[in-house]
Symmetry: C4
Subunit: 227 residues, 4 copies
Amino acid sequence: MLEELKKRVYEANMLLPKYGLVTFTWGNVSEIDRETGYFAIKPSGVDYEKLRPEDMVIVDLDGKVVEGHYNPSSDTPTHVELYKAFSNIGGIVHTHSPWATSWAQAGRGIPCYGTTHADYLYGTVPCVRNLTKEELKAYEVNTGVLIAEAFQTNDYEAMPAVLCKNHGPFTWGKDGLEAVHNAVVLEEVAKMGARCEMINPKVGPAPQELMDKHYYRKHGENAYYGQ
Amino acid sequence: MLEELKKRVYEANMLLPKYGLVTFTWGNVSEIDRETGYFAIKPSGVDYEKLRPEDMVIVDLDGKVVEGHYNPSSDTPTHVELYKAFSNIGGIVHTHSPWATSWAQAGRGIPCYGTTHADYLYGTVPCVRNLTKEELKAYEVNTGVLIAEAFQTNDYEAMPAVLCKNHGPFTWGKDGLEAVHNAVVLEEVAKMGARCEMINPKVGPAPQELMDKHYYRKHGENAYYGQ
Amino acid sequence: MLEELKKRVYEANMLLPKYGLVTFTWGNVSEIDRETGYFAIKPSGVDYEKLRPEDMVIVDLDGKVVEGHYNPSSDTPTHVELYKAFSNIGGIVHTHSPWATSWAQAGRGIPCYGTTHADYLYGTVPCVRNLTKEELKAYEVNTGVLIAEAFQTNDYEAMPAVLCKNHGPFTWGKDGLEAVHNAVVLEEVAKMGARCEMINPKVGPAPQELMDKHYYRKHGENAYYGQ
Amino acid sequence: MLEELKKRVYEANMLLPKYGLVTFTWGNVSEIDRETGYFAIKPSGVDYEKLRPEDMVIVDLDGKVVEGHYNPSSDTPTHVELYKAFSNIGGIVHTHSPWATSWAQAGRGIPCYGTTHADYLYGTVPCVRNLTKEELKAYEVNTGVLIAEAFQTNDYEAMPAVLCKNHGPFTWGKDGLEAVHNAVVLEEVAKMGARCEMINPKVGPAPQELMDKHYYRKHGENAYYGQ
């Protein structure tokens, strides 16, 4: 079972360079097996070009390494917190993808300017505040705690993405592949949102009814997109 | 005959990722056989990497599936309305191509800033308004109806492209290939128009006589471009 | 000899898609043999993917086709005028490359903001005015005439590039390859110039002495760049 | 030993086109052997497509060619000055990479807007002033002298990058590979910094404590990133 999980997480990780979301080692994907509470994650600082399925590290929800010959991603404690807080998710992605990171650096959430956004992300993608000096002492844990707090008033299933101020994005989904899919969507939406504001500096968000129409065309019991 | 049509539509669809106009499944091409009134269109939500000619779906002008093992694109009713309204067109493309979509999100038509635009698109590319809440109930049908209305005062043959506010572009042409060609032109023109405004925020449209010269160099009885 | 010229011009043309300077057929390269006064040029509207060396068209300085089974580029009369006006050039390129065309659409010359520009282009890349209605009657000829006029006060060897307002760039050089090289330089310089103004809207041109230093590092009798 | 050095420097040079940092011959990498004081550097103006390991030129710290059948990069005197001033570095890169060069042309240092920057570059990337007319007489030497001066108040190990006004970037590292790595980081940071200001024109630098956290996560005795 763990071999299958490692293979899946390896393949999801390899999609990050394929979709242009990472430079060097600046990203990671994990996926959890909810029965055992174990998740597989990319090892820290290992080049994508050299990565192999057997290099994935197995970690439990206390953040302890269960199996693996490498250190897990330094962001592992953030993944732990998110898996604990968001009980229905199965995969998490972190990247420094250029457009989403530019919004994070700008300290702004991404308004919903159109249907590409509304198809997958319901409302404004939130941008969480900086950690305090005190919170920075447990940086990776508190990054996860802060994101979880931000979703007390957001539905993490309808908004599977967040920006961390001056840092970059996290996305999630029902498994690693869906989390990667959402990371690609976020980057595309971040790009088009920035250009849209350049073309019309006074632009406002798309009408609520259009956002509803598109979101529920793809999600929920009345969805009719796809096969 | 239907096999030939499916093959042509498959090939036209595969040009969308080739020209960088689609991410994931965010686009579709159809082409109609005017004698039977049947058109072939991409199935809904099927990955381009897995698409095969036999997956194309045959639909009639009532929007009913004539042949196919998949659901047709969720945008099929829009294609139906456009084929009914624009009697001389043979192919339609819808994408979320990033630059054209950025203009659509910005709610602005694309002014004609130069000859690249004038060579294929006569005048400002129109951006149609949002649908009302009432109209959204039949979203895809009314998207087509709204576009058709906008072309009561535009020549759909001289302007084979439109933007739908907060959504994205549709283009058309005498067949699927020409519709894809116009989708590429539109994306290029959208990119250069946005950059042109960045370089000179006070820029105005190209002179009418230059637009005429270039458009009629490629179209109509006095055309002299090409072989 | 003509076969050799056709082959050279074919190869120079194929560099345009390689360097991302053309979409579809929006560009052409020619090269002249000054002894015979014949030049070879891309045929009009023929896809780069299908182009072959034998498709190049041989034209004389009256604009008459000497040899070839295709029509020459519709821009041929512009090439003729430039070869007649600029006696030391051997190759000419026209493209709609996106950044240079964005400046042309904006109606602005490109200031020299740095050494990348100064290494090849001495001073501001000029942007020539629109043709009048009267001049548009002989559009392609007068485009060449207008460019030639603009270089009465510019040194065409030190500034082997020009923008035509609302249209796009022409570049030239001692042969087709050098003209393509200058087209790539122009596109790069156009891109960096636009971004530089975005980063610092109050930026001014590079100091004259730095421009001189870099230009003469690569050109003239005291050049010391290269082998 | 020199053969090994040439091979390493050749491979580091070939990463420049791989990472999209150079057009034509606009860049060079060198690496020094501190025991002999010899360094290998790319030959001047030789195409990357034709470059071979044996084409690298061996130069000493007086700037004299020790071995090689080509002229060394025209920037060689700048490399000499930097190797003399920064005793702990082993490799240097110069490019005209588009985003970093756009900041250099704009005459602005790059503020630290986020953790991608802070992970490798501690603080604002400095932009050094233009050389005076007098200094331009020994252009390449004085470029190095000026950079060295700027680092009297900067730690060249914590800030392995600099912009030269109206010119472009230099980066360095413990060897050629690390210098290339820093050149890629700089380009990415320059791109995201410019876009970040476009998204939020009033953005300020990231908090000092976050910069410290990220920099020391990867550097110094308490580093815990990687294997």
